[in-house]
């Protein structure tokens, strides 16, 4: 987990509106961890002791001159190096009080930057792309400097890295719309040029950040589209000619409100974490600027801190502190990155959710997304560019986008649609999946509705299996399945959709009750539910010995209720028919079980239940009675692990059905026995509870009896010892 701590202001930032693009020329590390060199846009270089928030030394250039490059500290020589007026290199030490008496050397080309990587010779990068070591340059300041870059190329970013003795300088350039990356290696000197991909959206690289580890340079590049890519370069490259495309992988796709970021900066903190400024916080309102720490491994926001005032898209990180200019101050924010684990990453995510804010991954409302479909189209560009698809792009020339598939669904044959959808599903990453699946499903359903011959069962089942579809997303899917008598799909939907309206539930119930058993025989239902029902029926066939010696028949004997002369005449064994056969087939029962397990509200269910015909009601009640008796006889029928309705659910449905059709059932002769049986059975259970209550009373009395034993002050008793 990463955390940002309370920050403090190091110094003020003088910035007129004219210099809007940058607040400071730069913040560079000094010899100690606690010291930094701050070069402001005007004329001064200041060394600060950070923990004390105190300047240790400050140097100004004369009126008329200006600093054009951030001052750096050269640890080799123990001197500061800066450039004034693009061509004058100035070198000074702590003791020097003013610039006037310090060493200066004028070179014959404009200097872009001076870099001083740790423990290595400072490197001078000229505006036209030439690179010189500082020492070599100072030996002959007026030496000619070659031009590497073409006329219109401008250096945007540069840095210098060192590992072991190997020193490299990396800089990026921009030429019209194209961006290039140059990698300058020393000893032997070599220069490599790479082209930075900008993609279809013409996204511009905004900020780069390079780290080196194990001889490989990890380059993070934040594009104005909000995508963060990672490229890996080797420290010791092989010699290659020509301009190559820099390979890249997508690390993060950050939420960007209006399509493009204007100014942002990224700094890598450790392997997994990076700090960003200028990128909007996913759950904060617009207009607020945040400093965020993101974890690239888990793609989660680890910590965020709001920054007041405008930000400049500048961010530095030295020895556990982030330096970010915003508003009128340079703020130092200490941070901490611990080793991330999935658990901590998820923990933070959940916390965010419980705060009431939106989750970190941007899930936009389904409706808006669907309706804005066309707008998205026009914006183009937002295809599915994910790591998987990207990596495959080189091999597969014709990768279909979602939009193409959607288009295809409208007309293509069932087979090709199935194939295409499968391909899309396998190539889509998780956050994208919900969007894609929703759109595909609604498109497929509308095609099916319009074209009765078209019904890709497998594709629809596959889509439901992703668990990314729900009823409100694709309201016609379940009805379509019923229409097509595709009971297995209906079962899937009932299992996976959390939001089926009561009306649809009742429609399903009706359809299932009416379904022909012969139709169902061929249906390929979910095996678990079927095996559960098979087990149940097997129990039913087993010799129905009562457990624990309990016999409800005996209980009923002393009942004074004699309203059932017919059953009594049949004999005691039939008094309560515990061993009733299953009134429906196994597959139908499995389907009905799914109905029983759906979420519903009684008051919404009742009006729709009234639509059932009397025959349906009787059949349903018989089935419910069967289930209830089974559960009552054999508690192990509720096998753990298997999806099965609970006793409470069964009772709820019995009550709802009786409520809805009571008057009808009372009048119906064939329902009479059924009602009578139910009534008797419930009565016997109520009596059982009463008896248990009595036993509880006497058990409690026993308990009391034991306590009072010791209360007497005096007693005479007889004990026997052996």
């Amino acid at each position: 987990m990463a955390a940002l701590f309370e920050g403090f202001t190091l110094c003020g930032v003088v910035s007129g509106s004219a210099r809007a693009e940058a607040a400071l020329l730069g913040v560079e590390a000094e010899r100690e961890e606690d010291r930094v060199v701050v070069t402001d846009c005007g004329r001064s270089v200041t060394v600060y002791k950070v923990s004390d928030q105190k300047p240790l030394g400050s140097w100004h250039v004369r009126q008329g001159q200006s600093l054009t490059c951030p001052a750096v500290w050269s640890s080799r020589s123990g001197e500061y190096v800066a450039v004034t007026d693009s061509r004058v290199i100035r070198i000074w030490k702590d003791d020097d009080t003013t610039f006037e008496k310090t060493f200066k050397a004028t070179v014959c080309a404009d200097v872009a930057r001076i870099h001083a990587a740790a423990d290595s010779e400072p490197v001078v990068l000229f505006a036209r792309g030439a690179v010189r070591m500082l020492d070599a340059l100072l030996e002959a300041p007026q030496q000619p400097i070659e031009e590497v870059l073409s006329e219109e190329e401008v250096i945007r970013w540069s840095c210098s890295l060192v590992e072991g003795k190997q020193l490299v300088t990396i800089f990026t350039t921009e030429q019209k719309e194209d961006c290039y990356l140059y990698l300058q290696r020393f000893n032997p000197n070599s220069l490599h040029k790479y082209k930075l991909e900008t993609g279809e959206s013409r996204a511009r690289p905004l900020s780069l950040c390079a780290t080196v580890r194990n001889q490989s340079i990890k380059l993070l590049c934040l594009y104005s589209s909000g995508c963060l890519y990672q490229s890996v370069l080797s420290m010791r490259g092989t010699i290659q000619d020509g301009v190559q495309l820099l390979p890249r992988t997508l690390l993060l796709r950050l939420p960007v409100e209006d399509g493009h970021l204007s100014s942002a900066s990224v700094v890598s903190l450790d392997e997994g974490n990076l700090a960003m400024v200028g990128v909007p916080h996913p759950s904060a309102s617009a207009g607020k600027e945040f400093l965020c720490i993101w974890n690239t491994n888990f793609q989660t926001l680890q910590a965020a801190k709001e920054l007041t005032g405008r930000i400049y898209g500048q961010l530095w990180s030295y020895s556990g502190r982030l330096y970010v200019p915003h508003g009128k101050a340079l703020t130092v924010i200490p941070y901490e990155c611990e080793r991330s684990s999935l658990a901590t990453a998820l923990g933070r995510l959940q916390q965010d959710r419980s705060d009431g804010s939106k989750p970190v991954t941007t899930v936009v409302s389904w409706n808006t997304l669907l309706h804005e479909d066309t707008i998205q189209h026009q914006k183009g560009a937002r295809g599915v560019e994910t790591r998987q698809s990207k990596s495959r792009k080189s091999q597969m020339t014709s990768l279909l986008t979602v939009d193409q598939v959607l288009e295809k669904i409208k007309s293509a044959s069932e087979d090709s649609v199935t194939r295409d959808v499968e391909m899309i599903l396998s190539g889509t990453a998780d956050p994208e999946l919900q969007l894609v699946v929703g759109r595909l499903a609604s498109q497929l359903v509308s095609r099916c509705q319009s074209d009765s011959a078209f019904y890709p069962h497998h594709t629809l089942a596959q889509l439901v299996h992703t668990r990314c579809v729900c009823h409100s997303l694709c309201p016609n899917l379940l009805m379509l399945a019923l229409e097509k008598k595709d009971y297995s799909l209906a079962q899937l939907c009932l299992q996976h959709f959390p939001d089926i309206p009561e009306a649809v539930t009742c429609a399903c119930l009706k359809a299932f009750l009416d379904a022909e058993e012969s139709d169902l025989q061929t249906e390929n239902l979910e095996p678990d539910s079927v095996s559960f029902m098979e087990g149940m029926v097997a129990v039913c066939k087993r010799d129905g010995a009562l457990e624990n010696g309990f016999s409800p028949v005996l209980l009923e004997e002393d009942s004074c209720d004699v309203n059932a002369p017919t059953t009594r005449a049949k004999g005691k064994a039939d008094w309560l028919v515990l061993d009733m056969p299953c009134p429906v087939g196994v597959k139908k029962a499995a389907l009905l079980n799914e109905i029983l397990q759906t979420a519903h509200t009684d008051s919404f269910l009742l009006p729709h239940l009234k639509d059932l015909t009397a025959q349906q009601v009787v059949l349903f009640l018989q089935y419910l009675q069967f289930l209830y008796l089974k559960y009552y006889q054999d508690i192990s029928a509720q096998a753990p692990g298997l999806r099965s309705p609970t006793v409470t659910q069964i009772m709820d449905w019995v009550c709802s059905t009786l409520d809805a059709h009571f008057t009808v059932l009372v009048m119906l002769p064939e329902a009479r026995d059924l009602l009578f049986q139910l009534h008797k059975f419930v009565r016997s259970q109520v009596r059982l509870i009463c008896e248990l209550g009595k036993i509880q009373g006497s058990l409690q009395d026993l308990h009391k009896l034991k306590q009072t034993e010791d209360a007497d002050l005096y007693s005479i008793e007889v004990i026997e010892l052996f």
């Binding site: 010791d710 007497d712 002050l713 005096y714 007693s715 005479i716 008793e717 007889v718 004990i719 026997e720 010892l721 052996f722």
Partner: protein, 676 residues
Amino acid sequence: MGEFKVHRVRFFGYMPSGIRCMSFNERAERLALGRLDGTLEIFNFKDSFYQEKVIPGNDSRSVEAVCWVAERLFTAGLNGEITEYDLENLCPKYSLDAFGGPIWTVACNAQGTHLAVGCEDGSIKLFEILPEKIRFERNLDRQKGRVLSLSWHESGTRIAAGMLDMIRIFDVQSGHATHRMLVDRGVSGMRNHECVVWCVAFLSDLTVISTDSSGKVQVWNAAMGILSSTHLVSKSDVLSLAVSKDESSFVVGTSEGTVVQFQFLANILGGDEKAWVRTKTFKPHTHDVRALAEIGTAVVSGGQSVLQDLQLLFLCHALLSYRLNTTNFPCAGMLLFQFPAQLEVWRLGESEGRGEIWAFVYYLSNHHCLKGEKWIPFQGEDHISCSAISPCGGWLAYSTVSSLRVYRLQCDEHVSISKVPKLPKVLRSAHQLSFSDDSSKLFAASTHSMVHVISLSQSECKHLHTFKPKSGSTEPVHLLAASKDGKWLAAANRGCEIHIYNLHKLKPHCTVPIYGSCPTAMGIHPTSNNLLMVHADRQIFEYSIVEKQYTDWSRRVQREGLHKLWLERDTPVTHVTFNPRNAAQFMLHDTYMFCIIDQSLPLPDNKCQFYNQITLKSLSEQERLSHAHAFKMCTKYQHLLFLGLLDDESLVVVQRPLTDIASQLPAPVRLKKFAT
């Protein structure tokens, strides 16, 4: 074995007094414990935690603090006096008024040269400890507010004093206070109440630990006079504190009955930086924990409460340590109950048609002035140290630290009691009293292990003889046993010696070989005249007085060893009785069981089932014989104080259930429990 008729007596309303303070003597491994009624008790931790000595209290004396100085014991109390005790005669040796008002605390320095007392008037007084007495040396700077707790630094140059709202550190040399550390009053509701610093402890690294009335445990740096850390332990007072010898842990006791342990642990495993960390919480009590002592791996906690649970770590003697000989039982169907300041006599009588019933006979208090007796109030009212009733029921004797009285008791239709005048002058006080079996003689164990023999008759009391032990031991006698035939008298003293005297010849007969553990109960067999002894470590010996050697049975016991479950029992055997029906059987009891030991049966070895009564019950007669062993345990009666035999050979058990005691205690500090 057979059936026994048991009279189960639970009307003995004895209320033990709460524990006020404790002090542990490392060298002697003895724990001194002061009760609210002024009684001092000494427990020997070397000898199975046996309650070795009891110094009876006095109404006018209170014990607020107790302190060991080498082998000497000092207490100080709210009467403003410092008292040293004579541990051989079990009485106060001398008292010295500190002239500073009530004394709240007393502490001795590590060198054992000075005693510091904290007084109500805010002064801390230093006393020099001399071989025979203590002498006032000087006062430290007087402060405002009472001094409630004191602790010396190891070096003896500084003292930490806990006062109201503050802790002060004194320099002993100059007598000036060097630091003044203010204690926060706690939560806002308590701002108006002073914060009482109940305990302080000065550690050798100049750390001071304090506990106070607002529920805090604070750790201070006394070198700088600053607070290092605060631990909120309780919502009410934290009353007691004990630091382990190596100063790596301490325990505190709260008025809610919890005991909390703190340990000095490294912040990071294996790191150097250490801090006091709250580690364990126990709730052994229902009421205040007023006193604590940390002894190696054990913690002793005491207060005014009933134990809830006896934990292994906690050797709790809160209330269970009944004073010895609180009841006394002769064969005439009478029970004598001894309270700290009164005696009760009960008799088994006949009521019309309802069988036997116990009748309250007489109540005797040492405040009580008998008719015709001239009442001489002695300074303060000493509590009764021992009492006895004669087997015929005609004589009653009791003793306090300062006086001994014998009464003639006549209970026919009406009860009449008269004090026996003109007792022999040797009878000043007694540690233990006993009557001979024919009630003609009174044996009184006196100072220097002497036993006086007094002959009793209607007309007069005559001093017959005084037995002195040959060994010259000065330890007090705590057990006396006379033989039924009136020939032998055995006397056991706290020095583990048992001397046997011949009453006919009035000469010492022999000395039983000394065993390392103190005898807790003994009796002489009525027919064989064998002396049966049970020691604090629960070993049983039988010694033939006539042959002057251990009996064969005793040797067999030693050879085969006792069952480990027997040796593991944690309360001492307090009485021995012989079964008149069977000469080979005798009965023992401790607080939680009684047992009948049959010498004719084989001894149980460690492999066989020790508590076998339930098993035996389920077996047939023949099988029982093969399974039976000598120990017939009965754990039906708990919290047993006494077990004896009546004339008709029925048993009498006297119980004092802990629940009865708990019901009479004041309500504890109200604790908010979940969902109440």
